[in-house]
């Protein structure tokens, strides 16, 4: 309405409009500030501190004033600029800037990222001047790739099949404990050592257990999935959450079997396909004529998780082209339509659930061999939430998006921790990793409100008649595209 008057009668009406708009902007910002004061007042204005064993109160009026001030000023600024009623509304039909950028760089991004990931340890060691100096970076790379793999695994369940799984960490745990238990329990070791020969089993334990762990996790996925997959979306989410917690509680309390809260330590390390990373003449270094360096094992682990992650991505891409993959995507869009077309929804859901669980199991097995130690502490709901946040932020269904989200959220936070100037601004005990989950949670809400299909939201149709038309995710509703 305001826009129309401004266009027809430019001079007087515009001036009056501008005046009332400014007044309104101030009023609105004031109300927002008041609400912010009510929301933040109790929790930021006061701090509960324990003094000499008793609980006392601390006060933070300046922090509260700054926060409320920022919200007031921000709202006022938005009211006067972007949300101003005098501003001509921009009608947008085409793809957004993000989408066009995505389409333009799209073909280059994948090979570039892949090349970077494949050469990363060498780049790191070259720029930092040696393997030992680059240990921190390569460890970080392993962490990021683990989450990339978990993200891609969960992407099959959430992004492709549209099943919200809040207990994905359960399968990560099953994979980790499968390897840990198989490789450390005496009777199992005795049996395999007798069957395969002692040195062979010692050297190949990880490589034999890796597929076992994945299959076992997949089996668990089927066992847990079968009864619950008939449920509607949000019930399924809660039940998977319950299963995740049950598995963790059992791991804590079944002390005889799992070692309880103390976990399982001294898990055998990975070998280079049977060649251990030791100093002696049968070791990896001697075999390839290199000087012994403990970093060889770390670099090798980096490539193992890179390969595992790429297998996950490759399998996903291929599965999408199979009937079952198409059924997953159809199921995500409209379950009732699927059922009326004769798709057995339970089986299709189960296959997605089990496939996702299997990749979670692989990642868990890798986690156990890398850390050499597993305990229930590593498998809390926070991990499930983090993986889900990565999938959501990356844009459900998008492979590159998930990888970028994992790198930014896991790597970015680690990097922030080491920035000296942040400590000078926020004080010495500032630890950005404390804020990680805070940002994750906020980002999940923001993405859902702002761009529900994720930041990179072009969706390529998997089937097309003559030419592939990229469509902006904004224009695609449920059941279309």
């Amino acid at each position: 309405m305001a826009v129309q008057t401004a266009e027809t009668a430019p001079s007087a009406a515009q001036a009056a409009d501008a005046g009332s708009a400014v007044a309104h902007a101030f009023k609105d910002a004031f109300v927002t500030g008041l609400i912010a004061l009510g929301l933040l007042g109790p929790l930021i204005g006061f701090e509960t501190i324990i003094i000499d064993g008793a609980l006392g109160l601390g006060y933070r009026p300046s922090l509260l004033a700054i926060m409320v001030g920022i919200i007031f000023a921000g709202r006022l600024l938005l009211n006067l600029t972007i949300w101003s009623p005098n501003r001509r509304p921009r009608t947008r039909t085409g793809p957004t800037v993000f989408d066009r950028a995505g389409v333009a760089v799209g073909p280059v991004v994948k090979p570039a990222l892949l090349a970077f990931a494949a050469t990363f340890p060498f780049i790191a060691s070259y720029t930092l001047g040696g393997w030992n100096e680059s240990r921190y970076l390569i460890d970080l790379g392993i962490l990021i790739l683990t989450y990339v793999m978990l993200g891609w695994g969960l992407n099959i369940v959430v992004g492709l099949a549209g099943l919200l799984d809040l207990g994905y960490v359960a399968f990560y745990a099953v994979g980790a404990y499968t390897y840990a238990l198989l490789a450390t329990s005496a009777p199992v070791n005795g049996f395999f050592a007798g069957l395969l020969g002692e040195t062979f089993w010692a050297n190949w334990a990880f490589w034999i257990c890796l597929p076992v762990a994945g299959l076992f996790a997949g089996l668990w996925g089927m066992i847990l999935g079968f009864p619950v997959l008939r449920l509607r979306g949000d019930y399924l989410a809660i039940v998977t959450l319950a299963f995740g917690e049950i598995i963790r509680l059992v791991l804590i309390n079944w002390v005889d079997f799992t070692g309880g809260g103390a976990g399982i330590a001294s898990i055998p390390r990975a070998t280079f396909f049977g060649v251990p990373f030791t100093r002696d003449e049968n070791g990896f270094a001697a075999l390839f004529g290199l000087e012994f360096n403990p970093m060889h094992r770390i670099v090798f682990l980096y490539f193992v998780i890179l390969a595992l992650a790429l297998i996950t991505a490759f399998a996903t891409v291929r599965l999408r082209k199979l009937p079952v993959g198409r059924a997953w995507e159809a199921l995500r869009e409209d379950e009732i339509a699927c059922r009326s077309l004769g798709i057995n929804t339970t089986n299709v859901k189960l296959s997605a659930f089990a496939t996702g669980a299997m990749f979670g199991g692989f990642a868990g097995c890798f986690f156990a061999v890398r850390a050499g130690f597993v305990s229930p502490e590593s498998f809390t709901f926070d991990v499930s939430a983090m993986i889900l946040a990565i999938v959501v932020l990356g844009g459900m269904g998008s492979q590159v998006g998930v990888a970028v989200a994992a790198a930014v959220m896991m790597g970015g936070m680690e990097m922030l921790r080491n920035l000296g100037f942040l400590k000078q601004v926020f004080g010495n005990d500032f630890d950005p990793s404390l804020y990680r989950m805070l940002i994750f949670g906020f980002a999940m809400v923001a993405i859902m409100v702002w761009k529900p299909r994720g930041l990179v939201s072009t969706r390529d149709p998997t089937i097309f008649l003559k030419e592939r038309k990229a469509v902006s995710g904004d224009l695609v509703k449920e059941g279309h595209g």
Binding site: P42, E47, T48, A237, I246, G441
Partner: protein, 305 residues
């Protein structure tokens, strides 16, 4: 027998708290069909607001009457928690109506993570112990050393819960707000056509749910004497279990489910193993959803195209 009676009292107390939280879940589910995953954390936030208010009243203002302090804490906590819940609905859920199926759920999970970590960052990760508020007990039975006691705070919890439920029942059944709410629950579009402000009604549903969760938060703080940023998650899931067990969408069902879950949890801890009490509650959730998704008092759900 005496152990049984004691556990019955404890279970009913715990069940009252779960029932109060469960109403928030069941009301929101009834009206917009989403699981408000952040509700457990709203409950936790209310416990913190209550804790801060209590400390302010006793240590700074020097109020000595514990009942006066509790009454003020209750009102303050209800007000601020309602504000938090209103803001959550406005910011995180309302823009998502009509979005794709999983969007509100994911947004709610994000909000839950955000709230828990916000409290962790602003209030610290440690347990916050409150000095015991009301310590008097009534000895009901005394059989050779084992005393069955009914603590005054348990009496307060049960009485307050019963009073609030009465008031709440009146609100939903007899007032125009309650009628509007039931109308929106039945058919949102039709209700809007008949002049009901749907957005307003949904906002109020969130506010009422949060106010009841705030009462639960104050009771929880008084009963256990401790607040922690992670305390929203498990009680939240248990209260959701209660709502599902009673039949989601059904208000008497939520209370019944809450009492049942409270009783099951205390009896399980007393007679089987305390380590697996959470496993018991989670298993009930899974079993109910798989075999009896409509719950005890709920209506079976019909899926329409």
């Amino acid at each position: 027998m005496d152990v049984f009676v004691q556990q019955l009292i404890n279970g009913l107390t715990l069940g009252s708290i779960y029932g109060l939280i469960a109403i928030g879940y069941t009301m929101v589910f009834g009206i917009i069909g989403m699981v408000n995953f952040a509700h457990g954390d709203v409950f936790m936030v209310s416990a913190f607001i209550a804790l801060i208010c209590f400390l302010l009243l006793t240590t700074v203002l020097g109020i000595t009457s514990i009942f006066l302090a509790l009454a003020i804490v209750l009102v303050v906590a209800m007000f601020f928690t309602s504000l938090v819940s209103w803001a959550i609905e406005r910011v995180a859920y309302r823009p998502l109506r009509g979005s794709f199926r999983l969007a509100p759920m994911i947004s709610a999970i994000g909000m839950s993570i955000f709230l828990a970590n916000f409290v962790q960052v602003t209030q610290g990760p440690r347990n916050k112990p409150v000095p015991p508020m009301i310590t008097d007990v009534i000895v009901l039975m005394d059989s050779g050393g084992y005393q069955v006691t009914l603590a005054w705070k348990q009496v307060i919890i049960m009485v307050v819960t019963a009073l609030l439920l009465g008031g709440f029942w009146y609100l939903v059944q007899k007032t125009s707000l309650g009628r509007a709410q039931r109308a929106v629950e039945q058919d949102r579009k039709m209700a809007a056509l008949l002049g009901i402000n749907v957005d307003h009604t949904i906002s109020l549903t969130f506010v009422i749910g949060a106010a009841l969760a705030a009462v639960a938060g104050v009771m929880y703080l008084m009963y256990y004497g401790v607040a922690n940023f992670a305390d929203g998650f498990v009680p939240g899931v248990k209260a959701f279990t209660a709502a599902v067990l009673g039949g989601i969408g059904s208000l008497p069902g939520a209370v019944l489910g809450g009492l049942l879950i409270g009783l099951i949890e205390t009896f399980w801890s007393a007679y089987f193993s305390i380590e697996y009490k959470d496993v018991a509650a989670f298993s009930i959730l899974a079993i109910t959803l798989i075999f009896m998704p409509q719950g005890l008092l709920g209506r079976p759900e019909v899926e329409k195209v």
